[in-house]
Amino acid sequence: MRPVDETPKPRHRPVKGTRIPMRENDPLERIASFTEVGLGYDAAEAHTEAMRCLQCAKPPCVDGCPVHIDIKGFIGKIIEGDECAGVEVLKTRNALPAACGRVCPQEEQCEASCVLQRTGQPIAIGRLERYLGDFDLARVPAERCRPEIAPASGKRVAVVGSGPAGLACAGELAMRGHGVTVFESLHVPGGVLVYGIPEFRLPKALVQAEIDMLAEIGVRIVTDAVVGTTYTIDDLLTAEGFDAAFIGSGAGLPIFSGIPGENLNGVYSSNEFLTRVNLMRAYEFPRSDTPVWRGRTVAVVGGGNVAMDAARTALRLGAAHVMLVYRRAEEEMPARHEEVHHARQEGVEFVMLCSPQEVLGRDGFVTGMRVTRMELGEPDESGRRAPMCVIGSEFDLECDTVIMALGTRANPLLAKAAPDLELDKRGYIVTDADGATNLPGVYAGGDIVTGSATVIRAMGAGKDAARAMDAWLRRS
């Protein structure tokens, strides 16, 4: 930690104004490649945006953040022009700021709680977080911000899964002095950050750089380790000698719709499509070895962020026409506004209030999709108006690729290898508020507990569990 600065600071006077927009690559140019869409703030833009911050005495934005980042604190440092100190503030709560600044739904979290939200111009907290995250990663590794590490506790923790929950948990435990080993089933760490979220939204080099920082503070990462088969939870706690384990294995299994024709060639789960393209870099095929079916006309089924990612990825693979087929109305899509906006800008056609009935095919390959029109009835338990089929309204969409982006369910692989672990009826792990499972020393968090959620919620769960595990380890 740096010495406390005793000189009184000049009082901050907020500057009125509208949010500083973030520069973006041109929509028509950017769909020709996988380069990042948003360009981020430069120092002047970041400073101007930060100057709008009221620096509230009791900042509500912090309560809006699942990991309670000291938002006022890091923005204050940008105002002072001390980015290094800003990074330090940020990193005490969040080990992956460059990633979170890009993919968190700030408009529902910190920015929704900003006092300036009333004016329709909340502080662009996400962009400022990204600015500091990128500032840190632009420095040579030796100069990057390193959190303070507590003296070694002598305890060892196994973290299962290297997605947002696992990485956040690992980082927090390492800072608290524990020896941490992360087990990842794929060949690259990062979980959904590398297999799911596309390069044009979250560059993989950046994820790797943030993970490298965890390695710097002593976190060991073992890839190609499928916990559930290569090691059971019991193996980790006995033969492998770990004192505790955190399970952040993610939800995993893709949901299909169950309509006829879903096993035709050219039908993908969004998981498979995005994994082929992101993790396996199929967009570089044949320079990389993994192919992906490059459709000319693509129908993506779903209305979430993953559906937007799949649609925009299909465009970048060269599709001439990409449709987004959703059974409710556009306002009800769960995707972030920014993602919807970007998808529309890039030319994705929104086919709303339509529900797939059958995937049509010839000789084993997709030729189209039969859909039925829907109309909205009374609100259902989710508060959204329930879509109902309009009888006799079926029509066919012509397409050669269908991507099902319908969410995920619990992967049974790990639980099969830990038969005593308590699961709910849908197969998700049951934990208490601290993330503790029914097995002593075994904690869990992220999508394998809550079902599909966001990167930052999973990180929050990983961090909370790490604090509880720290206390448990020190007691035992």
Partner: protein, 279 residues
């Protein structure tokens, strides 16, 4: 990185590779598979174990050179490294309590049939192995099978160059007709498994097949390996690879196996440009 310990060419296009992978070998069971990537650009490709040693920490598999990954594999020798090996994956094959079993191994499928037959023998089942290949040259592991305490070993070749002349379904049908088997297991090309299952169905002999759909992660995450079994969608990687042969939609499986045929040709041709192995 996973060190290649030994390689062996079994025929023109069939190779065997032994790789150091102690954590995988420690948990391997008959009928399970693993995923490998040859190098940093490599595709994730599943292979089923032909053998392993938990004590010595190695796994072995047999492959036919058919595309880019298997072509790259033929270039590796002892002392080289595979980028990734992950597993074991899938549900182990059932052994024990099956009574009289016919295990059919066709082509490279014989490599998978070997540990399965061995496990069944060890579990007290009475095992007849039917080993099939296009010709004598492509027949593999005959000596290994002969070393097992089998009830019988029947060798079949399409051209009669070894054993009996004909398809594996002929002796399988005879076993069914004489009521000599209670169960059957078929491992090989999808078309062979389809006809084996059709053969035993007539006699209501329960038959398990070991499917080999295309996979990416191999842990249930992507759904590439989905197969229709009795009208239900199953994932080859986590629900299989073994399924009830009488319920599998083989036409769909074979169609899905062909989806990237053109891409595979492109990738292999690209790689072969800089390669002089002549394979």
């Amino acid at each position: 990185m996973f060190e290649v310990l030994a390689t062996r060419q079994l025929s023109d296009a069939v190779f065997e590779m032994k790789v150091a992978a102690p954590a995988v070998a420690a948990k391997a069971h008959a009928g399970q598979f693993f995923i490998l990537r040859v190098d940093a650009e490599g595709e994730r490709v599943p292979f089923t174990f032909s053998d392993w040693s938990a004590e010595e920490g190695w796994i072995r598999f047999i492959f036919m050179r058919v595309g880019l990954t298997t072509h790259k594999l033929t270039h590796l020798a002892a002392g080289d490294f595979l980028a990734d090996v992950a597993g074991p994956l899938g549900v182990p094959s059932h052994a024990g309590g099956l009574g009289r079993v016919a295990v059919v191994g066709g082509g490279v499928g014989a490599a998978v049939a070997y540990p399965v037959a061995r496990a069944m023998c060890a579990a007290g089942d009475e095992v007849t192995v039917i080993l099939g290949a296009r010709n004598a040259e492509l027949l593999i592991l005959e000596d290994e099978f002969r070393a097992l305490p089998l009830k019988d070993l029947v060798v079949m070749t399409d051209d009669g160059s070894a054993g009996r002349h004909g398809l594996v379904t002929a002796p399988l049908k005879e076993l069914c007709e004489t009521g000599a088997i209670d169960h059957a297991m078929a491992i090989g090309p999808a078309i062979m498994m389809k006809f084996c299952a059709a053969t035993t169905k007539e006699f209501a002999v329960p038959t398990v097949v070991s499917l080999n759909p295309i996979m990416v992660d191999g842990t249930g995450m992507c759904g590439a390996c989905r197969v229709s079994v009795g009208g239900e969608m199953k994932f080859g990687c986590v629900d299989g690879p073994d399924f009830d042969g009488h319920l599998v939609d083989f036409e769909e499986l074979m169609s899905r196996q062909r989806v990237y045929v053109d891409d595979e040709r492109v990738a292999d041709a690209e790689f072969s440009k800089g390669c002089s192995c002549g394979l």
